[in-house]
Symmetry: none
Subunit: 211 residues, 4 copies
DNA sequence: TATGAATGAGTGTTCATTCAT
DNA sequence: GATGAATGAACACTCATTCAT
């Protein structure tokens, strides 16, 4: 049935795992977590059902691993920007760009992830187990925390108004996500990044009203 | 089991429908769409299973109707503000307040709704049927359109910068929703509304950088 | 598919439950608990799968209920004998007869039950849940307790030697079960009962050896 | 991972086989046949999965071999007693003692075995294949046959009543097994053996009733 | 001989929906 | 209109066994 590949044992083995992850990406993206079936994934991965369970404890863990592995490079890149010595506003704009890029590249999956953690806040709507959901949420929070840190840096440095850094971080985050999910990101990603930064920094009002 | 009420047939019948809707609100809010079961709803509604299907084609339709009926008053109120003669920025702040209020009052349900339409954009993650999801999305779009109209009015009047009104409307909307879902809304709802408006109007930067 | 029966609603409904129990008896007897499939049961019961789960929480519970309902009359009969005023040895012989009869009538099922509680003692070999197994075991113990009580009565009255009543009860019980499961019970059930009683009462030795 | 041992190929190989058998004993005893997994066995045996299948055709065969090898010394000992020139009742008591000892030593495994052959009679409840079960059953029968032979000897010699030797053998056997499985065997194994023998020989009744 | 990655058959359970009364 | 018994499609997961190296 499946075509044997002329590669070293090690590669074949890595390949199986990767084949499954790749197939999972496609299927989860298309169907979401709940509606994605393992059967569909293995059909696409050209693999036996047992193999999936050799590599991943269960469907949830497969999903989690997928997200984790796809996110890693993005998170590193983000960290790097924070540690750089660019001015705060520049940092923020670069981060927005990274976000957009990452969300564009992995939109399918992240849409689903957001779906499964609605509000990346509380409740229990999703099909994911409490435990798994918490892990995802912590990931998210960690990412947003980074935004928050930079905002706080900006406030300390006096570049940013005295505002609630956490709320602002969430606000910025939500706007980025919304732009991506609404397909509002132009071909020129930098343009969109700049646009978001501009509104976020200076607002939409033409002039400040006398209070 | 259930106590029959001594009311006119018509009233009982209306009552049944409402009982179901009320129960559905509670259960959907608690469990989300997928995990809410009709059994749980009828238990709470103190009614028979068949009765639900007499009034609502299916679970989806029940959910849709529920959302629709709960949203109606909010949408009217919103329309009214638009038609008022307040200055644009004032209108916007009032609208933000209305949004917050509405989302706070119906948070449980709307959280679920957002969950089921993730991205109020595209695909098919949710348990909802394509058709039903589109209806919900149209509702959402209609609501956001109203924000957009006011923004456009602001641009026309010269109070708001020349910007992409649609994107801005979505951005504003996403921020509002995020604040609610993150439980960032203070007891003093007006304060939060003002805060959102302030950032949205004037940005977070202390001073405009020389470009 | 299924033939509708011309009976009152109440009867049909009782019938469904009973049909399932009857089918379950056959399938469990033939295949044992683990190898019996719900699919096979519903095929025989001429019923839908969901129906089984309307009446019984799960496969285990179905099995438990089946055993329970089949055992009830036997247990009553046993109790009655205990409370009678026959001489102890007579009581015991009657009880042996009841046991034989019951085990012959429900042999298929009880074989399985014993299987699932191996040793009606300890461990965890069976497919049954800890909780369910304990329930079954308690049933068994209760039944054996009754034997024990009569033995103790015999000791008190001086008809039976001073011996360990519990051990003796278990011994008697195990012999009865073994006779049934080895198909050693003659057509004339009373003969077998008498034979067991005889060995149990007077032993197999021709004469007591001088110690 | 596993430490390779510096022994002759032949020894390693024998060792592997034994390691597997030892591990199998532990796991089967703890979990029973069905719930014991090959994975668990190889983990404990510190060996590869394929290796198990090099030495044993399948899980069943592994189990069978295990039982067979553990039983061999016991069966020899039993034979020896039969061939001895002790009086029949003495032989029987010694045999009871051997049984108790053997069942105590290998209780874990034998419990499982009995479980898998329930009734060491008929049907097909266990996970074991028909063929394999028959082999086990023959083993059992052979062992019980030995008891039967001695009983027949006793009858011939006039020490034992004219009774059905086969049934009596089974009865005795079942009592022994029951005592073990119910943990009724005292520290002093001989006491229990004597107790069983006493009841079996002379019964529990104080005096023979006038018929 | 030893290994372990790959395999896939097999099954209990949930729950929205129907329809006869 | 109100009811609830009956239904069955859909799905994740386990584990003995194989076979290429």
């Amino acid at each position: 049935m499946r075509t044997t590949q002329a590669v070293s044992l090690n590669d074949v083995s890595r390949s199986k795992r990767q084949q499954i992850l790749d197939a999972a990406y496609v299927v989860f993206s298309r169907k979401g977590f709940h509606r994605a079936t393992v059967d569909e994934i293995i059909a696409l991965a050209d693999t036996g059902k047992g193999t999936v369970y050799n590599y991943f404890t269960n469907k949830e863990k497969l999903f989690y691993t997928l997200v984790k592995e796809r996110s890693a490079p993005f998170e590193s890149a983000l960290q790097e920007v924070v540690r750089s010595h660019d001015p705060v506003l520049t940092k923020l704009e670069i981060m927005i760009r990274l976000f957009l890029q990452f969300y564009l590249d992995n939109g399918g999956l992240l849409r689903v992830l957001m779906h499964e953690m609605r509000g990346f806040g509380s409740e229990q709507y999703s099909t994911l187990s409490q435990e798994q959901r918490e892990k995802h949420q912590n990931s998210f929070r960690a990412t947003i925390d980074i935004l928050q840190q930079v905002l706080e840096e900006g406030i300390r440095v006096g570049v940013i108004k005295e505002c609630d850094a956490q709320k602002s971080a969430y606000a910025l985050f939500s706007v980025i996500v919304t732009m991506v999910f609404q397909n509002f990101v132009e071909e020129n990603l930098e343009a969109t990044a700049h646009l978001i930064a501009d509104v976020f920094f200076y607002g939409i009002a033409k002039e400040r009203l006398a209070k």
